[in-house]
């Protein structure tokens, strides 16, 4: 495991987000449809990155709960766009072997005959490497 500072840098780099621009208004969390599912809330992602607590972020369930609906990206008044941070934290996880949120074994029972390919493709992208 790299140092926390390095990981924070990596998240900033992957996401392209400058967390220093945040003014802590909370509009991201006010807009988030997955807010209640998340243990670390969208606005907290920004301050966790600032405080370089990446450990908590990669272990949070929030990274699997984000829908990538871009409501926080659209409405952020400071151009911080926390959704990109959440996705970057998820990337850090799926890029490590064996960290998939979706296991091949569990797929068959999740399927039904009407599932569009698009759903499977998207879910693979979001949950697996």
């Amino acid at each position: 495991m790299e140092t926390a500072a390095k990981q924070a840098d990596l998240i900033r780099e992957i996401s392209g987000v400058n967390p220093y621009k945040c003014m802590k208004c909370g509009k991201c969390s006010a807009s988030c449809p997955s807010y209640n599912e998340m243990d670390i809330k969208p606005h907290q992602f920004v301050s966790y990155v600032l405080h370089e607590d990446i450990e908590s972020l990669v272990n949070s369930k929030s990274i699997w709960k984000c829908l990538s609906c871009f409501a926080c990206v659209e409405r952020c008044p400071r151009d911080v766009k926390p959704g990109k941070l959440i996705d970057a934290a998820r990337q850090l996880v799926v890029r490590q072997k064996g960290q998939d949120f979706l296991l091949a074994d569990e797929i068959p029972e999740l399927l039904d005959p009407d599932i569009p390919q698009q759903l499977l493709v998207s879910a693979f992208r979001k949950y697996k490497r």
Partner: protein, 662 residues
């Protein structure tokens, strides 16, 4: 050869901490023409200036270079000091080693090297300086105030009380401005009209004040002390001298579909109208876009009912040309358009309103006669949500980067007034920060919380979702409880950002006054000259310079007035001697320079020229130094290179270039 003295300022540690001033002194002594160099803690202090005077006397200096802060700070100071000590003030040049050196560089060696180069450039320039003598121009003892809101009214009153003539130009039919639209004012809850109307009346009654309403500034020329301004007096279609202000025409007018500007479009007004009951002047105007008579030729009802015979459908716009010594911009503000904030459903629901609209709803003369009710169905609201910072403090491309300053306070005011008058209404305020720096401001806000039970929630609203039953579902966040909130409201009030009135850009361009990226007018110095524009003779009053509340606006209005009075009290002004000057021997009379001159300062005359013994009459350029502002456009345009700018001559600038590239 000049005898130049160089004075290097430490500016306390501002310069000396990054620039090795002793080294600068030591190296600059080696420059040609430099006969004296020294450093001192504060060159601008009296002791510092005395050092310059002593050196001038003892070393017979003919030119001075001061290495210090920006010439925009202290050039005038050092010129005065030199003049007092007996040399021409234009023999002084400044090397800016603070703003453009010590403050932006960290490495001492590098900064010192640069400081020496800047000093050398200044020395090279002074070597070629020539004494200049400013001309004189007369001051027109009359001021123009653009904008008739509280800022403009106060400025005009203060100037007029000092005994000078003032004209107010206001583009709407009445003076009063935004303040006249407010119901109550913070932090004392005074009725806005009660404190504004007497001032409006004073202004109208003042023998030194002349008010042009329904008028706009169309053209400005000239310069400090001597501006010439064209004012367009728009056709009112009502004779101001005959009208008695009885109001019958407005009652009888059959066209009542125009949105009322005064009530922010929340209700309608007639085509012939005065914006509000206390309007000054109390003379209506006819809105040509809605008047049936002006559009179709039929109707004419107002003319028939007017007993004074004041209606005149044939009136035309009129241009008034007037001379002024000083101009004050007091154009004020408007709230931003909310089309980029549709997540708050402003355009989708009538019950989502701006604070200024709430101001009209709360006002007894407003569209609901002061009853707090929903605009959609007229029902009394039970739950009201206020959303702060709508479009303020946004660094995305949707809103404004600045804090609008007044919203925290007016929202506390609204919340308090509603809770006071309607104790069963729940009021919730979503805020990012509550900013209350001002006398009795924080106490005011705390009263809203502690005595009136207003529910302040730290957090923003993400979206307002109108429901089929007419309720508004407000989805926000409480950052203290760390909870997402969904609450129903009957009304949502948006604290929309304020921005400079849209016409200000046009006015600033006419005045050649600088304007920032947010369309606020720039002040000559952000701290020390906050009511003056960098353009001489142009002054700033009110929100056109930056967001302000009423007390601040009134204070600035007074300050601007003092500056105007200080200017008008002078009979004559010294003109800038850095004007263009042709070399008649080289001029071939081609007129190129006259064509590029924005001031019409260049004319041609037939003159007897002695060209190395050959005497002949030639057509040569002649610069009127009273008109020339010294931009230098002509100097570059001149094909024969005969035109030069005094104080910034070709040779001087080239000497600077050479010194920098050496």
């Amino acid at each position: 050869m000049q005898r130049i003295g160089v004075f290097v300022c430490h500016c306390g540690s501002n310069i000396a901490a990054t620039v090795d001033v002793k080294k600068v002194v030591e190296l600059i002594k080696l420059e040609p023409g430099v006969v004296h160099a020294e450093d001192y803690q504060y060159m601008c202090s009296e002791a510092g200036q005395e050092k310059i005077a002593v050196a001038i006397r003892e070393k017979g200096l003919t030119g001075i270079v001061v290495c210090s802060c920006s010439p925009r700070m202290h050039e005038a100071t050092f010129r005065k000091a030199a003049e007092k000590a007996g040399i021409n003030p234009y023999m002084v040049e400044i090397a800016n080693i603070r703003e453009q050196c010590s403050w932006i560089h960290k490495d001492m060696e590098e900064a010192t090297k640069k400081a020496v180069i800047l000093a050398r450039a200044a020395v090279a320039k002074v070597n070629l300086n020539a004494p200049l003598k400013p001309g004189e121009s007369l001051v027109t003892k009359r001021a123009l105030v653009i904008g008739g809101g509280i800022a403009g009214i106060q400025t005009a009153l203060d100037i007029a009380d000092a005994g000078y003539e003032v004209d107010i130009v206001e583009k709407t039919p009445s003076i009063g401005g935004r303040m006249s639209q407010l119901d109550k004012t913070f932090p004392t809850l005074d009725c806005s009209a009660c404190i504004l109307t007497p001032k409006m009346v004073d202004a109208a009654a003042h023998e030194k004040i002349n008010i042009y309403t329904y008028s706009e500034v169309e053209k400005v020329s000239g310069f400090v002390g001597d501006f010439t301004v064209d004012i367009r007096k728009k056709a009112r279609y009502v004779d101001m001298d005959k009208c008695t202000g009885c109001g019958v025409c407005q009652e009888k007018c059959p066209s009542k579909k125009a949105p009322s500007e005064f009530n922010r479009g929340l209700n309608k007004r007639s085509a012939i109208y005065t914006p509000f009951a206390q309007a000054i002047p109390n003379v209506p105007v006819i809105d040509a876009d809605y008047c049936v008579k002006l559009k179709t030729g039929k109707c004419g009802l107002c003319e028939k009912v007017c007993q004074a015979g004041a209606i005149d459908y044939t009136q035309k716009d009129e241009i008034i040309t007037q001379k002024y010594g000083a101009i004050v911009v007091a154009t004020g503000f408007d709230v931003i358009k909310l089309d980029k904030y549709d997540e708050y459903a402003y355009s989708q629901s009538k019950d989502v309103i701006t604070s200024l609209e709430l101001e009209r709803i709360m006002n007894a003369a407003g569209p609901t006669k002061g009853h707090l009710e929903r605009l959609s169905d007229g029902k009394a609201p039970k739950n009201i949500v206020f959303i702060q910072c709508v479009g303020s403090r946004c660094s995305d491309n949707r809103g404004k980067s600045y804090c609008s300053k007044i919203c925290c306070m007016y929202t506390a005011k609204h919340a308090m007034l509603i809770r006071d008058k309607y104790p069963d209404v729940n009021v919730t305020v979503f805020y990012i920060d509550v900013r209350t720096p001002g006398k009795n401001f924080d106490e005011f806000y705390r009263r809203a919380v502690e005595e009136y039970g207003v529910n302040y929630i730290k957090g923003q609203v993400g979206k307002v979702l109108p429901q089929p039953d007419g309720q508004l579902l407000v989805q926000g966040v409480d950052l203290i409880d760390n909870k997402q909130i969904k609450m129903e409201a009957d009304m949502v009030v948006l604290a929309a950002a304020i921005e400079p009135e849209s016409s200000v850009r046009k006015i600033a361009t006419m005045l050649t006054a600088s304007i920032d990226t947010n369309n606020f007018l720039t002040e000559a110095h952000p701290k020390l000259r906050p009511v003056e524009s960098p353009t001489a003779g142009v002054f700033l009053s009110g929100v056109c310079q930056g967001p302000k509340d009423i007390p601040e606006t009134v204070a600035q209005a007074g300050a601007a007035a003092v500056k105007v009075v200080g200017l008008l009290a002078k009979d004559k002004l010294l003109t800038n001697p850095c004007t263009a000057k042709p070399d008649e021997l080289l001029c071939n009379g081609c007129s190129t320079c006259a064509n590029v001159c924005p001031y019409g300062a260049i004319s041609y005359e037939d003159k007897l020229i002695n060209d190395h013994g050959i005497r002949e009459t030639r057509r040569v350029a002649s610069v009127n130094s009273a008109l020339c502002q010294g931009c230098g456009a002509c100097t570059v345009a001149c094909p024969s290179g005969c035109m030069d700018l005094q104080g910034f001559s070709n040779r001087q600038i080239i000497a600077e270039v050479d010194a920098i590239c050496r």
